[in-house]
């Protein structure tokens, strides 16, 4: 493997992204139209069922649904390349506008969730590795196994039951109080969804950190560092944690779509106005244009984060460079 010019390296990655997104859009376009269901219902509501054949034909022509699928696709692609993704059948406004309204909510939930998981997993994993085999370690591992078995929707239900219905401490749904709003209000609405998002994923990554750290602790350099007189804390935090960090970073990059995908269900249970509830609606009610843009967005996030993970593991970790052939390291 030669060390390539960065332009070629990143250019190749971008081309790969473009091809993947193209194939994805083609696939989603066809699947969505093959799936039975009436898009007119989502545009006209119940009226669509009472339409005469003539009215239906007119309506379909107006929405461009009467033509063969491949012509519809080329037309959609041509407009999309100019930044026009069409209007949503249900909301009758530009799909980019609808998504732009909802996206900040999902980003807030997913972003804080990601941060909590990232930092929490490091802390819990290091704590467990530090206390390997102790009561604390065993308790944390057991609790983690149990919590990771609880489906997210049921955890949400139980939390709503306890904190919103019985104790009345926290709101049970939405992202903010209607009419009100402000930072504190949003934060209060975020607590329960955030807890569920974090609890669902945290243990998996914490367990991973713990096991990787324990593997590191069994290697020879730890023995050397210890015999040099370094303190336990320094060995664990400065040496071991540092050497597993690149792997963890690329793992977390891959996990972005998982965490975002997890928020889909959480959003639905908490009726949180975000991308998740929107995707669910658009797929169920054949809101084609909205569905396309949402799929492309989430697909790009997945592909981008996979690439990011690859780049991290190929470029950031100095050990990976050492493993390349000698002539490469001389130039690099």
């Amino acid at each position: 493997m030669r060390r390539k010019n960065p332009f070629i390296y990143y250019g190749g990655k971008l081309a790969g992204l473009a091809v993947s997104v193209f194939v994805l859009s083609l696939a989603v376009f066809y699947i969505a139209r093959l799936a039975p269901g009436d898009p007119l219902v989502s545009y006209y509501g119940d009226r669509a069922e009472k339409m005469t054949a003539e009215e239906r034909a007119q309506a379909e022509e107006r929405l461009g649904l009467d033509e063969p699928v491949h012509i519809q696709y080329t037309r959609w692609l041509g407009r999309a390349l100019q930044g026009d993704f069409g209007i949503s059948y249900k909301y009758k406004t530009d799909v980019t506008q609808i998504i732009a309204d909802r996206l900040p909510n999902t980003l807030l939930l997913g972003g804080t969730g990601f941060a909590v998981i990232f930092a929490g997993a490091l802390a819990v994993g290091a704590l467990c590795a530090w206390n390997e085999g102790n009561l604390l370690d065993r308790i944390i591992c057991k609790v983690g196994t149990v919590v990771s078995c609880i489906p997210e929707f049921w955890l949400s239900l139980v939390l709503i039951l306890v904190f919103a219905v019985q104790l009345r401490w926290l709101p049970s749904s939405g992202a903010y109080t209607l009419g009100g709003g402000g930072g504190a209000d949003r934060a209060v609405h975020l607590i329960l969804p955030l807890t569920v998002t974090a609890a669902g994923h945290l243990w998996y990554y914490a367990y991973m950190i713990r096991n990787r750290l324990l593997e590191e602790l069994r290697s020879d350099y730890v023995l050397l560092a210890k015999s040099k007189g370094l303190r336990r804390r320094d060995v664990l935090l400065r040496h071991c944690l540092r050497s597993i960090l690149p792997g963890y970073l690329s793992l977390m990059a891959i996990s972005v779509p998982h965490i975002l995908g997890g928020t889909y269900i959480v959003e639905t249970v908490f009726s949180y106005p975000g991308i998740g509830t929107l995707s669910y609606e658009s797929a169920r009610y054949q809101d084609y244009n909205l569905l396309m843009l949402l799929c492309i967005l989430s697909g790009s996030v997945v592909i981008l984060s996979n690439m990011l993970a690859q780049i991290i593991s190929e470029r950031i970790d100095p050990r990976m460079r050492g493993e390349m052939p000698a002539e490469v390291t001389e130039h690099g």
Partner: protein, 293 residues
């Protein structure tokens, strides 16, 4: 030992022999027993069910647990105790069936991809990535819409189709390591076909490494069924399953009927926990070496 003949000056008394390892050492006996109990109860539930699980006794809707309804009744007046055992059948069946479907798909895809020339392998892997990049919830909604009305079989198929990629990757990398080994080559030279080689030479090698993933797929399939039925895109309401029972929880939340939410959920979580424990036992906990710290 006779006390008159105590050895004096013996520095290292002989340690008592370690008890011989019992057959259950290291095995998740408790999880296996609980899972077996739940499965047996669901299979033979006709024998002991106190009430018809589908009968809606509207006069006794949302009754708290008591002597008549042991686990209470739901908002449509059905007996939760009967529903749990009866509904477990659908949930468990979907779990095992879809894990089996995804395992078959994964082995086929992984083996083809592992044995194929490089360009085909690259193509299959790219397509897998694109497939993975559609959020699985949307994919399930699509597939369900194509297959039409949901039943236990169609739902298993849908969940199975969305869950094979991780196993396929493992199978592929194992097959790539094995495909140049002498015995595979020999079998090929003697005219062994694809399925023959897969069954006789490849599968025994990757069987143990995918076994725990398949068991973990049982778990995620049961969880997926419950999530989908809860959201109303899984099984229809009249088919009783654990997830379907929880789909009534919106009403239950408003009236504070905790038993409708908690009791089926506890059964679900306990089952998932048992399956997880068995799965991680299958993975094997690796070798135990001393800590250098």
């Amino acid at each position: 030992m006779d006390e008159r003949f105590v050895l004096i000056g013996a520095r290292t008394p002989v340690p008592p022999p370690l008890p011989a390892p019992k057959w259950y050492d290291g095995k998740p006996v408790c999880s296996m027993a609980v899972l077996a109990f739940i499965m047996l109860g669901c299979l033979c539930c006709e024998v002991f069910l106190p009430k018809d699980p589908a009968y809606m006794d509207l006069l006794h809707a949302a009754v708290p647990p008591g002597s008549e309804f042991w686990f209470g009744s739901d908002t449509m007046g059905r007996d939760i105790f009967s529903m749990i055992w009866y509904g477990g059948r659908a949930s468990l069946l979907i779990g095992f069936l879809s894990a089996a479907i995804s395992a078959v798909l994964a082995v086929l895809f992984g083996a083809v991809s592992g044995l194929a020339p490089k360009w085909l392998d690259g193509l299959v892997m790219r397509l897998t990535e694109i497939f993975l990049s559609i959020p699985s919830l949307l994919l399930i909604v699509f597939l369900q819409a194509i297959l039409g009305r949901a039943s236990v079989w169609s739902l298993s198929l849908v969940i199975g189709i969305t869950g094979w990629t991780a196993i396929a990757k493992v199978v592929r990398s194992e097959v790539r390591q094995l495909r140049n080994s002498e015995y595979v080559l020999a079998s090929r030279c003697m005219g062994g076909g694809f399925f023959h080689i897969l069954r006789k030479h490849l599968a025994p090698n990757f069987f143990s490494s995918i076994m725990f993933m398949v068991v973990m797929n049982v778990r995620s399939a049961i969880a997926a069924e419950s999530t989908l039925s809860f959201m109303g895109i899984g099984l229809p309401l009249e088919v009783i399953s654990w997830g379907g029972m929880l789909s009534l929880s919106e009403k239950a939340l408003l009236s504070g009927a905790w038993w409708i939410i908690l009791i089926p959920g506890v059964f679900l979580v306990v089952t998932l926990l048992c399956v997880t424990n068995i799965g991680s036992w299958l993975r094997g906990e690796g070798e135990q070496r001393g800590n250098n710290l």
